[in-house]
Symmetry: none
Amino acid sequence: MNEGRMPGRPRSEASRQATLMAALELAAEIGYGRLTIEGIAARAGVGKQTIYRWWPSKADILLEAGAAKADLRVPVTDHGSYRADLRAFLEASYQMASHPGLADLLRALMAEAQIDREFGDRFRAAFLERRREALAVIIDRARERGDLPARPAPGIVADIVFGTIWYRTLATRRPLDADLVDDLIGLLAPTS
Amino acid sequence: MNEGRMPGRPRSEASRQATLMAALELAAEIGYGRLTIEGIAARAGVGKQTIYRWWPSKADILLEAGAAKADLRVPVTDHGSYRADLRAFLEASYQMASHPGLADLLRALMAEAQIDREFGDRFRAAFLERRREALAVIIDRARERGDLPARPAPGIVADIVFGTIWYRTLATRRPLDADLVDDLIGLLAPTS
Amino acid sequence: MNEGRMPGRPRSEASRQATLMAALELAAEIGYGRLTIEGIAARAGVGKQTIYRWWPSKADILLEAGAAKADLRVPVTDHGSYRADLRAFLEASYQMASHPGLADLLRALMAEAQIDREFGDRFRAAFLERRREALAVIIDRARERGDLPARPAPGIVADIVFGTIWYRTLATRRPLDADLVDDLIGLLAPTS
Amino acid sequence: MNEGRMPGRPRSEASRQATLMAALELAAEIGYGRLTIEGIAARAGVGKQTIYRWWPSKADILLEAGAAKADLRVPVTDHGSYRADLRAFLEASYQMASHPGLADLLRALMAEAQIDREFGDRFRAAFLERRREALAVIIDRARERGDLPARPAPGIVADIVFGTIWYRTLATRRPLDADLVDDLIGLLAPTS
DNA sequence: TGCTAAGCGAGACGGTACGTCTTGTCTTCCG
DNA sequence: CGGAAGACAAGACGTACCGTCTCGCTTAGCA
């Protein structure tokens, strides 16, 4: 649909990259709370209007920057059993949530999603739902194998898994650890 | 230690109440994102300085207002078994999270706790830790009864319980429901 | 040095004019003491920052507004004699000091010059010194004509002339009148 | 009518003195522009209300403090001639205006008199008119002696004398000096 | 000796204005 | 026409003082 050349000067990829980079750096240096559009524009050497033209809010800049930096796909390769698949998924997740810069970014985006409803919808679609879909692949595979416990229901497994990860990130600020992974697997994919 | 009268004009309880009330009302009407200290002061008929003198941020006003409104103690009365105690606790929690005004308030406070580190510490101490302590009472009672499963460890039970509740509140915006309560109990306090 | 176009949006002449006008009107209506930058901005339909960007204080706004309104050059045209030149100068001055709005403005600026040292320097340079220079032209001309009394010295003539005008304005609030003009001329430029 | 003792606790002379002293010291240290009633009360160890009970503005405190400190009567003792009386008066005046603390105080009070009309009336009555009356004594004595020039009229002499002194104080910030005294006497009380 | 009345230090109150910061829009010139 | 620069209107921020109002406590004269 986009193959026909657009009229006028094309969007500057350099400005886009500079903006995303500046937003990530500034957020890391001064924190999301003190992040401003003016600051990002100044750091990036970019006009403010250029930012307003392409992103609806500073949270959207970070969402795109985060998506670009850490391509957030989690491995859903087949490890032979639901239990092994789940362990791999959880360990990848806790790797991710343990990276301090990334954890700070996710905290800020989840916070903004509560305050700005419209960004919340975009964040859910662009991040939260993708993560649930990744887990859904594992669960579907287990169901086909006949490997999946009757309870809890698939959606509730996701609520428990992601709930625990997010609660650790947002409320206790302790990262996910190996003990918690073991306990979750013991509960959700028992051996017997 | 404080019973000796302080010198100077005593704090006005009327102003305190008016501020808390105004903050709750305005947050409900226009949302936390558009809430301002100026607006609260105007609605309450109170000087801005009076607010700044007693609360460090608008989130702290809402924290105190929420604590005053819904005295957040959850029932930890003894229902005879860990399973019954846990069910009562979860049902009370999901009652609370289902109250739309209260859920919005908690979302906003959890969001602010991510953005403002110092408020985060106060929020954790005044709300999150109290909730964990309530659950700890139930778990201790179960341990004394010999009613408590070996795994998961008590702290992790709390992470799973509160994680699931908060994830539903923050990420899916669907309240806790009876199915989820059943599944959680099935996992954490199995019958056999 | 400035002829090359500046980058960015140029200063809005409309905002500048509106600010000067609003300041003069408000000062006339409510008096200098009750004049506020917020009020000027509101009346002018201008952002506060636009005012702070271009003027260091409300007194400077009025100084510029006054300079713009009554272009304060006094006639120094040659009337043939020191006596006639001096009379013309004094009569123009007392015309000016008799205009009630202008007298109020000058009173306020002289007052502010006492309280704010830095504005005092600007006021001296932009107004008081210019007036002394105008009188100096008359005195120089008289000296060339051989028309100038030996005493008092030129600088002291200025102190006496302007001192009397300002004292009437500030201390007695009676404007300069014809009698005082006659007496000053009789003293400073006697006939014999 | 007031000689009968008032009921209630009498005014504290200690608080009055502390207030006047604190006002003078603070004005000298930080300048009239940054002087505040709160600051005076704090420095004096006095309640704000105690100040508001007795003085209508900070300028009135300084007016009373100045009057107390330098009792401002100028010598009007008879020196035998108008010329000698005038010289004594001018020299006493320029002594006064040369004292830097006092000059700053007078500048501030004259400035405030322009901005606050009601204080202006009090300042005129308590200070400016008294000074004119002192000069009037000298002029009356000269008239009785037959020593007084026909022109300028007595009131205009005062305008010229005080005008010159104040102009030097307010506009040029150079104190009155011996040359100016000589020239003024030469003009207003010529020898022949 | 106790009562009444006003002044006292302290400090919170409702407000106003400050000067700064940020937002999102606009207006210019350059490439 | 996209982009950098930067001025613009709007308005919230947190601070400083304002002038007023309670407090509990003197400190006097009057009973």
